[in-house]
Symmetry: C2
Subunit: 171 residues, 2 copies
């Protein structure tokens, strides 16, 4: 018998005040939303308490990560970046502006298509990232310490199904 979380409590309240309503979808959706919020917050806090290193903000960090993981020459267009990270064009532009000002990326117009720009990590950004990535994933791993490997697998599989569907319908 596992304990009740905030979502269970809410479900019980709905059952008492609106018994004819089927609130079961929230058992999944509300938990995802709450967890998303908590995880974002936790990662933002980790970045904010870093003394002067890299960015102080999860959105900006996501841009750097996406550029890092494609490998040398650590370059993508804003369009490719957007696909990778679920942000509006305006939002991405703002991130790139900050990152450029701080010296973590450069922007050059593409030689093949004058509308497009090439965003590229600077060597300092690559170095700083490589120094931090291990901590980053260790931090993530710690967030999941309440789940066993099998349970993680089951959750990941279920969420993949849902994500594939929602990305197709909403993204």
């Amino acid at each position: 018998m596992s304990a009740s979380d905030a979502v269970d409590t809410a479900s019980q309240e709905w059952a008492a005040s609106c018994p004819r309503l089927d609130v079961s979808p929230s058992e999944v959706l509300a938990r995802i939303q709450r967890l998303g919020h908590l995880i974002d917050e936790a990662q933002n806090r980790r970045l904010r308490r870093r003394p002067g290193m890299l960015v102080s903000n999860l959105g900006d960090f996501d841009v750097l990560r996406a550029l890092r993981r494609v490998g040398p020459p650590y370059a993508l267009t804003p369009g490719r970046l957007r696909q990778a990270m679920l942000v509006s064009g305006a939002g991405l532009s703002g991130r790139l502006k900050r990152l450029e000002q701080e010296g973590w990326i450069t922007r050059t117009t593409s030689p093949e298509d004058g509308r497009s720009t090439i965003v590229r990590l600077t060597p300092e950004a690559v170095a700083d990232l490589d120094r931090d990535l291990e901590n980053h994933f260790a931090f993530e791993s710690d967030l999941l310490r309440s789940l066993g490997a099998d349970e993680r697998g089951r959750i990941a599989d279920g969420l993949r199904t849902l994500l594939l569907d929602l990305e197709a319908r909403l993204g």
Copy 2:
């Protein structure tokens, strides 16, 4: 064999460019974050395209929902509201200000404790909500249509474990 989502793609890229890094926690965390974003967006869009009815914003809607589900007299203190919904004090104050201006809630100082205020739904808010709640949960149900009942249960159970742990450690 299920298809690859954005998170699988990212994992493969990491494996290619940083094979020594264990990125497996992102299999769960990144999916939760992406899904959280997509679900928030979808619900915000649903509210925004409503013609003049209720609020146009998920945060404000959450406040109304929390007040509705506790049943008559549909009243809570800001402190109780905060526990229910994962928002800063300042953020909640802003929501309450908007809702009060729009006539969906009233605020009165508590008779027992002069520091505390009682937030209460107006009758119009209750009526409007009751007209909309069925649509709301139908919309949520549709978001989950790619998952069978058993799969939803498994995901919900796993996420409950994680949520209980993270709420205790971070909330």
